[in-house]
Subunit: 356 residues, 2 copies
């Protein structure tokens, strides 16, 4: 019997609640497919700061390194907001990305037809939106050298944005590989009219394009991409961009759909290893109330089955179960038009499992 080790990091806020439902779905998939998922829990973020005195304990890194894939809930909360940098929940997130070499962040923004009303955009502008933002996740200004010193005009702060060709090439290739399996249109986003790192980015993108003659590559400046995402988001198939721009554009793209409680993401290393998490945060304001939407985390399980474990059919089954539940009209509070009819986290999880 096939066995996979899954590191489960529920994190903070609504993390534990939504993760519980996701793990139940995973267990059911295991029973149906005759596969054992050995789920081992680890701590990250605020809970780890409280328990271990660091947002990313060594133990957690070890656990995840021994796993076939990682499921993450969400990290952060007001309790730790005033902490110094090394004791902040996000530092755990940045740390695990670096420690596991998760250089490729895959963020689909898909407008599911039954949720069109949730968007702040006109139905004719958003219905049919189906794009993926591929974001470089372990380089650029996030991980460059930082400095702080005194100068003649007061304190000075510096962040270095640095990329080498190899780092750019591997993420551009991820973009091309994904586009090849879709509509074969890749938009590489940079600020080549201002930044040196963007000029190198564009040069590498052009070079790699020669290996993908079947994919159409175009370039957009980050400011015009931010405009185009608002104006006509349907024009996009796959967007590939560097870390900081990807942070902004993937969140903007997510919000176009209006249902951020539905969106999942993958952060991949070389090979098949990856970390999977919902796009939304830890939502401390509704934590513990049992009303959080578990669907983004359940859809993260589907992404994991497909991208790290090669279980394409099981992945599709989970996704179809989610769509079926939505089409039957079930909604958690965040996506409900009539909030009085909203159902809770556990109930939503159960409905998905029933459908499976």
């Amino acid at each position: 019997k096939k066995e996979y080790r899954i590191a489960v990091l529920p994190g903070d806020g609504i993390g534990p609640e939504i993760m519980q439902e996701a793990v139940k779905v995973l267990t059911l998939v295991g029973e149906r497919e005759g596969v054992t998922f050995v789920c081992e829990e680890g701590r990250i973020g605020g809970i780890a700061i409280d328990t271990d005195g660091t947002p990313l304990p060594e133990e957690t890194v070890k656990l995840t390194k021994q796993a076939d894939a990682v499921l993450l809930g969400a990290v952060g909360g007001p309790k730790w907001d005033q902490n110094p940098g090394h004791l902040r929940p996000e530092t755990g997130l940045l740390g695990i990305r670096k420690a596991l070499g998760l250089f490729a962040n895959i963020r689909p923004a898909t407008m599911h037809s039954s949720l069109v009303d949730a968007s702040s955009l006109k139905p004719e502008v958003v219905s049919g939106v189906d794009l993926i933002v591929v974001r470089e996740l372990t380089g650029g200004i996030y991980f460059g050298e930082k400095k702080r010193y005194d100068g003649p005009n007061g304190e000075v702060a510096e962040d270095q944005c640095i990329y080498n060709e190899a780092e750019i090439e591997r993420i551009i290739r991820v973009g091309f590989d994904i586009a090849r399996k879709r509509q074969k249109r890749l938009v590489s986003v940079d600020k080549a009219n201002v930044l040196e790192s963007s000029r190198l980015w564009r040069k590498v993108a052009e070079r790699v394009a020669a290996d993908y003659p079947d994919v159409e590559l175009s370039h957009q400046l980050v400011d015009s991409c931010a405009m185009q995402l608002v104006r006509a988001p349907k024009q996009f198939d796959v967007i590939v961009t560097e870390n900081m721009f990807g942070d902004i554009l993937s969140d903007q793209a997510a919000m176009l759909t209006g249902s951020i409680g539905m969106l999942s993401s993958a952060s991949l290393a070389a090979g098949s290893f990856g970390l999977y998490e919902p796009v939304h945060g830890s939502a401390p304001d509704i934590a513990g109330k049992g009303i959080a939407n578990p669907l983004a985390t359940i859809l993260s399980v589907a992404m994991m089955l497909r991208l790290s474990l090669g279980m394409d059919e099981a992945a599709a089954a989970v996704e179809n179960a989610v769509w079926a539940v939505l089409e039957a009209g079930h909604r958690t509070g965040d996506i409900a038009t009539d909030r009085s009819k909203a159902i809770g986290t556990v109930e939503m999880g159960q409905l998905v499992r029933d459908e499976l």
Copy 2:
């Protein structure tokens, strides 16, 4: 008789056409108000590359330095897109910002009620949007040191993002000063959970806030701001942010209104000196056809009258003339719902002058 010297830089593409209408409006204002505007033309961008071999001739810098304010059309076009950095039109734009110390870019995004249909957002989400993005314009990653060299993983490119307290303080003060005259709500946007320059930014914003107890200051991370601009743009009054984030967010905010041909901007130095330009680009595809919308440039004249020349009433008169023309149903192609009825650049300019 009062006399002002205005440096007029039409630039490329539709620049000359729209500038012509703006200058006519300015001349009319002068006649009405008994003020002489001495308009002196200079070259910048592509036209300067062709004529002077540089996108920013010394002569132009001199001309603008002797002026009371500068009007700019737009720069750039496919003809110069493949040029090396120092021979690109944008380099002229970055150069003039630096040469004139234009550190504060003011970008209003206002949804005029008669243009609500032009937006890709739902009417209830955008109608009433009235926000201003205050962008730092002469610092940060735009003007930090750039490097390119060979390393073990291929070429390496570096951009340095650098800010000192004085640079941050003066732009934060501009944000507070503007907010004070409006709804008194200032959102400072940064990425303080990742960037050292953002942590300094936030610290300075907090310190300066003590001088503005009547203005409510809050902080947003750049990724959540990009989300909130899509989800609920009406929540914003004034946004202040650094150069790169401001480039992205101001363009995103502009596009929310759907009528980028209507938006003007000011780039201010210390004191009252400023450069005024439409937000849209040089639109090479429609250049010379006489169909470009001159209203953003005419509204830039209004901003100049108000912010650099202290002629508040004349500024309001120009703005009201523009709104009246729109309310009477006149539209250029870019904002027309029925394109067959669209009018041309000169006709639109004439209508505004008639109204004045």
